[in-house]
Amino acid sequence: MKLSTITTKLRKYFNDREFLKYTGQFLLMMTIIYLFSILSLGIQSPAFTYSVF
């Protein structure tokens, strides 16, 4: 495909607000899920309790 055709298509997508809105929503959802999955180890460490005695 010619470079000018690619550029025209990309410009069309970037000017399409609805497309950008959907892309942003999907990206945000994926990023949140990903961050949660890599940081989940940090929220699961119980401390010592005296219940065992």
Binding site: Y13, D16, E18, F19, Y22, T23, G24, Q25, F26, L27, M30, T31, Y34, S37, I38, L39, S40, L41, G42, Q44, S45, P46, A47, F48, T49, Y50, V52, F53
Partner: protein, 418 residues
Amino acid sequence: MKRLKAFAAALVIFLCITGGIRMVVMHSGVHSSSREFRYWYNPYKDKSAPSLQEALGKNTMVIFGSSELGHSRKSPYYIKNMFSEKALDAMLIGQPYSQDMNHATTLAALAPYMKSRKVVLLLSPTWFMGKDTSPENFSIRYSDSAYIGMLRNPDISPALKRSMAQRTRHLLRNDKAALSRVKAYDAVYLNDTRDPFTRLKARYYQNHTMLQERAALLMAEQYRRISDPGTGASGAPGLPGKSGNAEPARLHSSGLRSSGPIVSPGTTPDWQALQEEALAGVDRKTNNPLMMKDSVWKTRFRSKYRSSKELHAGTETTVSGEYGDLELFLQVCKEENIKPLLIIQPVNGFWYDHSGLKAPARDGYRAKIKDVASRYDAQVTDLSQYDYEPGVLTDAVHPWGKGWVILDEVIYNYYKAP
């Protein structure tokens, strides 16, 4: 159609972002070469086998334990505060619920990187009570990077790896996610599967968990810097003092020492005097029937004292699967030519007599530990003679000032021995 294209575009951008996050997290410096890191009482440090490997110095001796490593950390007799770096170079590994199987796996992962071939294992009596290790407790302390390190250690025989893998799978039976990962690792590293899907799955799990462990460690380090900008961890009260001074440092009227590490290279501590000094510091704080720290008695034991009569009566002390895990730990030592020291910690004799686990039952698990150790020529130090001494324990099992002096002496003599 537009949404599909938007999803595809988001996915491409997402993959670029995750690549960037991964690069930043994996290449961010963790201060693993510092003494502070080696003594840092933190679960995320213990889970990250690569960070522990990096932290090992030329003379570093690993001390495995559990919750006792987190008690009395501000005491001048706590191991980190007691010794200067040149007197004792040690790394503490252990958290509440860490037990033999966790430590056997971690040791197998670290052994190829250890220059010192000595390790200390602080044995807690609660590990050996009951029928077996709690799967939930094991799962909390299970580390993927340590497990993979064990599987990839060329010095460990396939038979031992299989035994450890089998036991790990049994202990993770209630944690389906971790079990699934372990099975994938076993398929690749133990059984050398050629199935590309399984290999891909194992590679994905390995990369992802390594990223998780690293991210958690970085967050923990940042939190430590914010909460304690001085040392980043709890340290001894007072200012650094002279090193190489054979005389004990002066005491404040509060009973706290006025200078830094008590033991420096070239000094021979007067352990008896240190024990008496530590005891003098707590003399007025044990006014209860269990001779434990008054504040712990009031907040944790007083309300349940009456109802806990014979609470532990009938508790099994010689049948636990934990003895098998201890054997696995010793087998790792044997195959790695590591000389272990097992320390059987004292317990609060008053508490356990009251709650029904009397001396004969307690002697039972001690005898069994010694029996297991004798089969591997492992050195054992039994501190049960301190079960009824004041100032040794803050509660049922955790060391106090004098207790730490006793442990310090045993560990230091072992470290210094040829």
